[in-house]
Symmetry: C2
Subunit: 276 residues, 2 copies
Amino acid sequence: MVVFLGIDGGGTGCRAALADASGAILGFGTAGPANVNSDVAGTFANVMAATRMALTGHDIPETDLVAVLGLAGANVSMAVAQLRQMLPFARIRIVTDAVTAARGALGGSDGIVAAMGTGSVFAVQRNGIMRQFGGRGFVLGDQGSGAVLGRALLAEALRADDGFAEMTPLLAEVLDELGGVEGIITFGFRASPAEFAAFAPRIVQGDDPAARRLFDAAVTELRDLMRILQAGDSLPLVFLGGLGPFYADRLRDLWEIRTPIGSGLDGAVRLALEEA
Amino acid sequence: MVVFLGIDGGGTGCRAALADASGAILGFGTAGPANVNSDVAGTFANVMAATRMALTGHDIPETDLVAVLGLAGANVSMAVAQLRQMLPFARIRIVTDAVTAARGALGGSDGIVAAMGTGSVFAVQRNGIMRQFGGRGFVLGDQGSGAVLGRALLAEALRADDGFAEMTPLLAEVLDELGGVEGIITFGFRASPAEFAAFAPRIVQGDDPAARRLFDAAVTELRDLMRILQAGDSLPLVFLGGLGPFYADRLRDLWEIRTPIGSGLDGAVRLALEEA
């Protein structure tokens, strides 16, 4: 009997689901973080722990499993190659967690997924073929993400202090909170993407003029990217992540917005079944 | 007899000049780095070493000196306060190296200085009063600087790889040099501002369409900042730094461009004489 394993692994934890050839779920498991680029050995340990938990009560050898792993950090090919060599499964496909999230969100339908959280990443499924775009990280990419929006807010506060931009209540509030210009500069050099992203809720909500300007610019940029990904089609959009609903509200006049039909774990199981 | 000390200190070295009340130079000295924010104790040691070299052959006690120090990192007030307590001079004024560079470049005349190197910083001298703008660092500021231009080039190469921007010969060259998309992402997370800035010469010269677009945008941004700093006046501009001549070429139809009349060390001595 062939058994299928789906893994959804991110920076905070990893989940496993076991399915038979009909797609019926035989078991679930969970374990710690699985960002393969940050920690190959830890990812291996947590993927195996979640898998063994899912296998509990079944007499199925690990070496019989057809596995699809959606992992954070899986765009770094050297880390992926190392992990692949360590895993005992019969068949192994490793993709980014963005691919499994998009597959879970869309199911079998064509569409575009925009995951707008601390980072951002896009996927297009067309005639059943999924392709990932963006997701290049905080320094050089992650258009429209919470971290990029938060960084833009702090940069605008510094410009306003110099008289290069209009000072607004939100910019003054942020200058005050972080200890003025020096405080913002110091924060900027040491802050993680998550710390920058913590400012995003105040940008996408409320009616501060600077916030509106920054979010309008981000919406315009995202709209242009979506147009390029549509390539003349009119695929439905599915938004994921904490900022997803705010972008969805701004783009629903242009394209159909759908809610995700499943999770990243559903996507991993679905992809595993297709490996048969 | 009152003796005046000017110090010009940056990330690679520090220079001292000693002058009498007429401005006649009595001695010079040099020593290692003096970025007060990076290293207060090292800055103190190097400022004193350069000062003692400048004092060689003179019977002048350090405690008699009227000193102006232009130091990298002097926009961080805690570091400046620590250094001030350690220095033995009779009078001490500590400003950023941008202020002494601008004072040296303009002398006594009104004008705007734009220092366009790895970073960027601006200063306006109006009726003899100098005010600094920008210079907020690579993450949140440094508009038009080499590091910001280089980072924009790498981000554009990633966008082009995704089909979000036109692929050009320069973008293809950069993708190839850094080992493709993965190589650029990895480089982006670890590169220093100087490493990003190493790409700037290829952006400001040549006729690659992506380079032209990025430099045009930077010129427009700098022009807008200069307009704000002019505040309706028509002050001459002085450009410093490796990218200065390229911006000067693009803005000489709008404002008079002057060459700097002196160095940052000249500026520090001049400011020290004004402390009398």
